[in-house]
Amino acid sequence: MSVYDYLYYIILPILAVSILIIFIRFLIGPKLSDRVVALDLLLTTGIGIIAVYSIITNQPAFLDIAMILALIAFLGTVAFAYYLEKREKND
């Protein structure tokens, strides 16, 4: 079994299943914070998928997308946190 096959048939599915599991938390919530945490984790897992995918397709360029995704995930979390606190403060 080559690295390619291993990643393709084992690692990627594991990551995909993880995404599906995390998505359950996103759906059930119950609080917005829960969803934000789930979203953050979804994105983080996405980074993993991208990294694996870049190996599979032999495209190191995809790793840059991982970088951007990391940045984005952070921004999203921060924004939601910002929102939650502002909303709380104004209520």
Partner: protein, 118 residues
């Protein structure tokens, strides 16, 4: 050799991510979910990325991978802190079996200032 390292690293990484995924569903309250996910996922992704860096065996790519890992190590805890703090404000309850809450009542509800003493 690289191949084996890549396989080991990615397997470990994927396991940690799976762990985080299960954790985020299974843990009973938000703070616990944050606790579980931040580290497990960061570790997992870090391992996978490292694997990718090693796989391409190119100094430039490795450097970039390390940059991403550093970046994640820098931002993930900050994000966790932010969302945890904000959730506490918005009244997200702790698990019923929690033992102790020394933060209770320390926040000023108006200014959101945090006191160190009562």
């Amino acid at each position: 050799m690289t191949e084996i390292i890549v396989i080991i690293l990615s397997s470990l990484g994927a396991l940690f991510i799976l762990l985080a995924a299960v954790g985020v569903v299974k843990m009973p309250d938000l703070y616990l979910r944050i606790s579980v996910t931040t580290k497990a996922a960061t570790l997992g992704i870090g391992l996978i990325l490292l694997g990718a860096g090693i796989y391409f065996s190119d100094a430039a790519i490795l450097a970039r991978v390390i940059a991403i890992i550093v970046f994640m190590l820098l931002t993930a805890p900050v994000g966790a802190h932010m969302i945890g703090r904000a959730s506490y404000f918005t009244g997200v309850k702790m698990w019923k079996n929690s033992k102790i809450d020394e933060l209770e009542g320390k926040y000023d509800t108006k200014s959101h200032k945090l006191r160190s003493e009562d």
